[in-house]
Subunit: 365 residues, 4 copies
């Protein structure tokens, strides 16, 4: 790809002053306001001429040698007294011009920056902001839709999910058969897929989820199993007890399935959509299938009563960047990605919500 | 691969009783103690004959039809009154024999289980156990070596790392130039690689880590920069202030580098090993290079003063299973893998350590 | 975890000879048969005494100093003439004993090895073996079941999949709505989800898969759309034309769906199982949902006509180790994991199959 | 985030015509040119009024009911004769206006699209284009710099890498100690880290890489070991034999190291940069450390002899999106990401280069 050459006759560049230089105060130390290079084509105005320093690279300084030569040089190689370009403007206005190579959709130049990726495990997670959004949704009677995968149960974030249900933060839960199966296996047998809470595969454990399913089928429904005292704790127990609506949708991976599971996928989508049309927020945790299915039917915005619009806050939590990226690639651009373990996410989010509630209670006194 | 046929003339199998059957109590509901199938070759003893049920699959029941036919059938298809095999023994002792296909190193048969993988994001993380180990190490004067990558700083687990340093849980810190650079950039400019604490790439931010390095080089050393009040908080500040030893080892990715960085990799390894020979525990967070380097030189065990040996607790935290698996593939078999985000790990670990300290203080009164 | 001490009074260890030593031929060079250390507790018999070398680590040598001291030392630090332990036996039989710390299920000791993980992108992929299995399956009239995700179509392995269908390597294809939708979008519009074959998102492209679905719904079925000349190439076209059975199962993510899609997940499972009970091989490419669903209903073995059993070759291809690991964690232990891109897998597998066919044709002349 | 309301008084929207509608030809079938919805706020002009259809979601149709109500509805629910909005323009010019919610750096609106992520395993890999670039670089005497990690050797892409070296496609190879160690272990012992070519961990294999290193140290250098017939094939053998420059840089993970390894990381960077300043192309395969180090010192452009500039083609191959994303986050924005297995990449790239050479030879006759 051939790059467009800069127009040095443009008013802006033609009128630019010469670049400024300052001496290095010591070997391997640059003057305070040194210009820090990028990997883009760069010109420096010296004696009214735009010149390109040799050996370009990023994270370095520009040195003018006694013979007039301009070099891109690592700070550690600069000697005391070397003449080093100073300034931070990259648009030529102070005699240094960095030529953009990337252009956005509209054809405008983009600035050289680090850390511009949309989703990365290297980015901070703002639990405080998420906690505030959840509390505000609850305060204004919003309808946060939670969509979760079985890792939430495998990894014992069950207790935290129960807390969110019991404290009014869950408008509806959309999930699959497996979430309910593992949750009920945990309630009856203390294991998930036969794995103990310490993460150890137990002998004979491979049949326990089938026994859990069979008990619920025998009871007739999850609600009945809760009422009969077969299921005494966990997510499904909390949903039934607190009368929070849930939709369990079927998939080809399902064992059983449990009685409440809607096995027809079209009927499942209709059942999910009855909640997504009311959603004022979405929290998608550790599921690709259900997250993308929900994203497909979720508007990117909420219409307020006065007709004004706001973005529908959509949080997508997964162990890898891939699920969030896939969700965006299928049009759910408003999704905010959190790359972490589901158990840890639930634990810290709850902690921040609890703290924020306490802080607000204190403040309001 | 041809499978060895079972020896039905063996004493154990020859003497086995017929399998037991019980009627299904309702359509789609199995009798209480139904045998839950695996995907392995399975024989059922009926009228003294070992027979293989048709259409084998896992997570199903074995049904004997009126014509004597034996079928593997999903529970949902079983009709009230169908004759279903019951029992859980898989060794033939109750008339059902499951033939192993996998053999361990020693040639012994292995049992069919779920969740046998060594490292998985689907396994629970036992923070309580890790907190106890850390507190016990501190109590007995152990030497926990922490090895960290820059994600710890990028993602603002800085404050938590400082807490562990200040509270005596860190014997030594082994890291690279980047950890110190980002930490110092955060102290001076409030950013890491120009990214704000909210995760936004800032304009002109790409040069900030270079300016941070330059300030420390100008001061002469990290210690000097701390003493001069240039670096006023963070990990390096805590290490210097609390006199906890650290080793910063060089890599080809380094900008600068900072003055304390050992640029020769052989000298670096020697400096690291002066700490690994003393290590009584290792915590490896968000780094492949440094974790594997440390694993290479770390014994898998600790020799107690009385000469007895115990496993050297080694915790490896990463966003993906791959780093832990790679560490094990290079011989650090004792590593316990935690698949999560570094920021979240630090936050919850600290929380559990604080709780455990409080609990012990209360108990000991 | 306290380790069991070795029993030096056991017949084997008591009778062991002293270890052998040889001089280093030059600085930093070890004698030919040097003993290469592990990170496990290690004892060396010197003058009839079992002694533990100081500063244990892996990948090093054991040096006996003039004062009798035994040290674990990196080869680069050894000086010419230093006395270095030689041998490779680790069971004490030549005077060096490495104490195992890991035990398998049966309680037997395991040997120290590198690269023992079950699935890793760092392991070679044996395309030659897979090609042979496929050709042999075809030769004996086997029934290879292919299970694929939409990445196969996104990434233009379509042509390769068509080749396998047309050349008799596909017994049945099990997939979801999305595979057929993208494949048909590619046939009609030349895009997948609006992305061109060069991987560029096209303007207005977000609606093309919906238009493709609408055309097929209008035609009444995929078969009808093929016969009407609406769908003129690709996977679905080949399946219909070559009369290879396929099952399209529904999910909550489905747009449309296409007419042949079985929307009830229980009916879907039944339809899939009609093929898995006949399967003599399984190839699972780039799908978690369908791979695990198939794994759930697939026996781990094939029963030959003479009643003998062999392992059912199961190949699982995915971009990450996670899917294979998850499949095994749900009991499909026989799965052989291939960590690669679906497009590249299909391309190379076809190449190897073509080569093998040519080679056999030549040989058989 | 409150969204800016559209300005319906703007010339463009005020002048827009009413939207067009057409009847659905059958139940569940939409009219040919149906408007396919997005998840963004959408208004439809009916009787001169801009109105928002109820229950917005993507991938659906807009239906006007007899009572005048406007609904967003899945195609499968539409009944024969229903009045469905048609058109594809989203800017209001045909009576349907989709309100953007995302804005690029310059503040311009962005269009709703699928598949806009920068790097994804779901995107096609254009081997043909890469092959052409390599052949053109060779033709014009370019200087392609290859940077590789040890997975290239582990996974037996060795033969393909040798082919590229022997056929003049490699200007220089930048790598670490491990690449050379595994390559030489493979030449001498037929294993890598003790793993056989079939991917099996061999007994006693853990010491083989140390024995390989020791033999080269004994010979004095890799070149000497090649000349002495100790190393008889592979990457290092090809580089030495064909006189292609290589730089082996040290890291704290290194065993040995081999004699040519530059252990000082600053000297290593200088040695690498002597090649990057000449680079006209970069191919980074299966290495995070070396890829990012090279990216740091590589200009994003090449200056032609006539002073014009072109982008420096930079290909980054890794098993996961993360490394490419990290490389870009550190400023190497020009990197083109290929998400696949290193072995497969090398194999197919070579195949395409061979084909292209043959095609050009034929054409030029």
């Amino acid at each position: 790809m051939i790059l467009k050459a800069p127009d040095f006759n443009s008013a802006q560049l033609a009128a630019a002053p010469d670049a400024s230089f300052a001496p290095a105060p010591a070997d391997g130390v640059l003057p305070d306001k040194f210009f820090s290079t990028t990997n883009l084509p760069t010109w420096v105005k010296v004696d009214g001429q735009w010149r390109m320093p040799a050996e370009p690279r990023m994270d370095s300084a520009i040195v003018r040698e006694r013979d007039g030569g301009l070099w891109t040089r690592e700070g550690r190689k600069v000697k005391r007294g070397d003449s080093v370009a100073v300034g931070s403007a990259e648009d030529g206005s102070h005699g240094i011009y960095v030529h953009p190579m990337d252009y956005d959709d509209a054809g405008d130049e983009t600035e050289f920056k680090f850390m511009t990726s949309e989703v990365s495990r290297e980015k901070p997670i703002d639990y405080s902001l998420m906690a505030q959004i959840l509390i505000e949704e609850r305060a204004r009677g919003g309808y946060p839709v939670w969509v979760t995968g079985p890792a939430l149960v495998h990894s014992r974030a069950r207790a935290d999910m129960v807390w969110f249900i019991e404290n009014g933060f869950v408008g509806a839960l959309l999930a699959g058969n497996a979430v309910a199966v593992h949750d009920i296996e945990a309630s009856i047998y203390g294991t998930t897929l036969g794995m103990t809470q310490a993460g150890v595969a137990s002998s004979g454990g491979h049949g326990l989820h089938m026994r859990a399913i069979n008990q619920v089928r025998n009871a007739g429904s999850i609600s009945a199993a809760v009422k009969a005292g077969i299921v005494t704790n966990g997510i499904m127990h909390a949903l039934v007890t607190d009368d929070v609506p849930f939709v369990l949708t079927g998939s080809i991976r399902d064992d059983g399935p449990l009685p409440e599971v809607i096995t027809d996928t079209i009927a499942s989508q209709d059942a999910m959509r009855r909640h997504t049309v009311r959603a004022t927020m979405a929290i998608l945790v550790a599921t690709a299938l259900h997250a993308i299915a929900t994203g497909n039917m979720l508007p990117a915005f909420v219409t307020e009563e006065d007709g004004s619009l706001r973005e529908l806050a959509t949080i997508c939590v997964d162990s890898s960047e891939f699920v969030v990226s896939k969700l965006k690639d299928r049009g759910t651009h408003q999704a905010f990605g959190v790359v972490t373990n589901a158990q840890d996410f639930m634990h810290i989010l709850r902690l921040y919500v609890e703290r924020e509630i306490t802080a607000r209670a204190t403040t309001s006194k």
